[in-house]
């Protein structure tokens, strides 16, 4: 029990600390909120999740809001500033598109390729009518255009991309082969764009102009962070929808098509964000496998399918006290001012719960130790009581019976003392590892032999405790009088208090 409790305590404390570390900017505010609530229950409750309201569309709308300090947007602004500074300093670029603008354009083209790829897949699977339904995963732009038109637009965009690419990445012209051109006309969504991250690392520096790899790294990093944020939003949205569909069950046999379409949208959003994250992370890994351009390994972890869960505990599965939060909720958070957006509040609730859980487990360790103290004290008290009974004089019975009564009392007392020995044998090593928590342990003598050997099988344990070996002989004359120090009790003599 103690081992399990302390292991869990350690694990949950680590999880709680990693959450605090990830949200170090907002942690003090949260802690204050938690403390205020603990002292005064009328303060806002930090464990209460926000109510998403009754309108599904309202919560969809509120969740599709971009993060106020979106990393990618900020980086784009910064790159634009850097470009204008460079142009102001007299640096001229061979193309009207600057390298930064070229890469941003390339990322947009890549995203459009992905959307078109999905559309084409569903066209193959479901036929043309279905395409209208999968619009949920599209950008708002170009919604009205047909698939063919969109393809043509993409082809044109890729063409536009090639011009600056030949200038900024002179080594790639060999990759842009004739077969590539045929593919471009038929399936532009499958054309390899040949960004720096796709080039072999050995020849990357010779094939691109200086600084292009780092530029792509910065963009990809920001893209991954934004995708991570989108994943969190979509997960939260799915969570709300699941809860709503569970709590607001309507008594109708009509299919809830509206809810279904919102579900589909949320799922498509999630799938797209996951794909974006994986693509951009792969680019980051290829560009800077040894973190050449900055630290990313702690933030951008590999996103496995199992990691896409939360917030909070899953509906089916292990209990909250056994399951850990996925890393997507603790890393790469775009720390903003302590916001009041829905996601911020949800994360705050999760943080508060994690802190409390870690604390509970740490208390559990102390409680188990305290319970062992009470157990031993109870045995001691029981033994003491039996020894007192041994000295009762009962005039009505004869000498022989009185001797029998005394013997029985001593036997019972010795069973209790045997239990103390057995428990000390099991627990002594573990308790001595925590000297500050067990100042009372020196009242008990350490187990004499085989201190380090523990019983291996449960069967053995069971039998040894059900019939503890009685060391004292059962004739009265041989019974040693109980020594004073083993009888001394440092607790109030009320057995009902020390029974657990």
């Amino acid at each position: 029990m103690l081992i399990r409790a302390s292991e869990s305590a350690k694990a949950h404390r680590e999880a709680a600390n990693s959450m605090s570390k990830a949200w170090h900017k907002s942690a003090p505010g949260r802690r204050k909120l938690l403390l205020a609530y603990k002292q005064d229950k009328s303060k806002p409750n930090p464990f209460e999740e926000p109510d998403p309201g009754t309108s599904t569309y309202l919560c969809v709308w509120s969740l599709s809001q971009q993060h106020p300090d979106d990393v990618l947007d900020k980086l784009k602004d910064q790159l634009a500033r850097e470009d204008s500074e460079q142009q102001g300093a007299g640096v001229s670029f061979p193309h009207k598109m600057t390298p930064a603008a070229f890469l941003q354009f390339a990322l947009e083209v890549e995203a459009a390729q992905y959307v078109l790829f999905l559309l084409f897949q569903s066209l193959l699977t479901f036929g043309p009518r279905r395409i209208l339904k999968t619009r949920g995963c599209e950008n708002s732009e170009g919604d009205s255009s047909t698939f063919i038109e969109r393809r043509r637009a993409l082809t044109k965009n890729i063409d536009n991309l090639r011009d600056p690419q030949r200038l900024y990445m002179p080594g790639t012209s060999s990759h842009l082969s004739a077969a590539d051109l045929i593919l471009l006309a038929d399936h532009p969504e499958n054309v390899e764009l040949w960004l720096p991250s796709a080039l072999p690392s050995a020849s990357r520096d010779t094939q691109c102009i200086a600084g292009l790899s780092k530029l792509e790294y910065r963009l990809r990093f920001a893209q991954a962070m934004t995708a991570l944020h989108d994943i969190r939003l979509a997960r939260r949205l799915l969570r709300i929808l699941t809860t709503k569909s569970q709590t607001h069950i309507t008594n109708t046999q009509r299919p809830g098509t509206r809810t279904c379409s919102v579900f589909d949208k949320a799922k498509a959003k999630l799938a797209r964000a996951v794909s974006t994250y994986r693509t951009s992370r792969k680019a980051v890994v290829d560009l800077a496998p040894n973190e050449e351009f900055g630290l990313w390994k702690d933030t951008l972890r590999e996103l496995k399918d199992g990691d896409i869960r939360g917030p909070g505990k899953e509906e089916s599965g292990t209990s909250a006290s056994r399951s850990a939060q996925s890393w997507i909720w603790t890393t790469g958070l775009q720390a903003s001012s302590p916001g009041d957006s829905d996601l911020d509040i949800v994360l705050r609730v999760e943080w508060c719960k994690a802190q409390e859980l870690a604390k509970r487990y740490e208390e559990e360790v102390q409680l188990v130790i305290e319970e062992m103290r009470r157990t031993l004290v109870t045995f001691k008290l029981n033994a003491h009581e039996w020894e007192q009974r041994a000295t009762f004089s009962i005039p009505a019975v004869g000498d022989a019976a009185a001797a029998g009564i005394t013997a029985y009392a001593y036997k019972q007392a010795s069973i209790q003392r045997g239990l103390i020995k057995v428990f000390i044998k099991d627990w002594y090593d573990i308790l001595t590892d925590r000297p500050h928590a067990t100042p009372w342990l020196h009242d008990y003598s350490p187990p004499a032999e085989n201190r380090r050997r523990r019983l291996v099988s449960n069967v053995q344990l069971y039998h040894s405790s059900s019939s503890p070996r009685v060391d004292t002989p059962h004739t009265i004359n041989d019974v040693p009088p109980p020594s004073v120090d083993t009888m001394s009790l440092d607790v109030p003599a009320n057995s009902s208090d020390f029974d657990d």
Binding site: A5, K38, F47, L367, N458, S466, D497, D499, D500
Partner: protein, 191 residues
């Protein structure tokens, strides 16, 4: 730091052959304490619970317990005017909750799922300090055993019934006692 004077307590009412059975117990063990089991022959009322609480807890308080955490399925309602009710009783053992260092009421972890959001936040053992991973449901795990005793002892007179129940629960306690070392070892055993 945990107080050595902390007591985790559990109140349970067991519907028992058209009579309510009231059980007071330590929240973390699985033993019956016979002196704490009260046979409620009347309609269930708070006064019965209060009387049983006062009669057991006053002993503990005398013995030096100063921090009490009490779990009860309906603790959120029952605990509301508890101290006021206790001060009004004339014949119950005197128990002044306000003299305690702390007296907190919680709803056990399995039952709290059925409560509303405000209960889940306020009476939740998970968010209470110094209770560890106590769930407070241990007493109810025994009910599968003791429910059959209801029919068993239905035809008995009150005293005989009391003796039968005593016998069975002592037997239960003995079996727990025998397995105590197995289930309370320092490291987890496969069970």
């Amino acid at each position: 730091m945990l107080s050595q004077a902390l007591l985790l307590f559990r109140v349970a009412t067991h519907s028992f052959d058209r009579k309510e059975l009231l059980i007071y117990r330590r929240a973390r063990g699985k033993l019956y304490f016979i002196s704490l089991i009260h046979n409620l022959t009347l309609v269930f009322r708070y006064i019965n619970t209060d009387y049983a609480l006062a009669s057991t807890l006053s002993n503990d308080v005398k013995a030096g317990i100063s921090d009490v955490v009490l779990t009860y399925d309906i603790g959120c309602q029952w605990g509301k005017n508890l101290s006021q009710r206790l001060s009004n009783y004339s014949s119950a053992p005197s128990l002044d909750i306000k003299s305690l260092n702390s007296f907190r009421v919680a709803v056990p972890k399995f039952h709290i799922i059925g409560h509303g959001a405000s209960c889940q936040a306020t009476f939740n053992l998970a968010y209470m300090d110094n209770v560890g991973m106590t769930h407070g449901e241990g007493v109810e795990t025994i009910w599968s055993h003791s429910t059959s005793l209801a029919i068993w002892s239905r035809e008995n007179a009150p005293s005989a019934r009391h003796l039968i129940l005593d016998d069975h629960w002592n037997g239960w306690n003995w079996r727990k006692y025998v397995g105590l070392r197995k289930c309370s070892g320092p490291r987890p055993h496969a069970s």
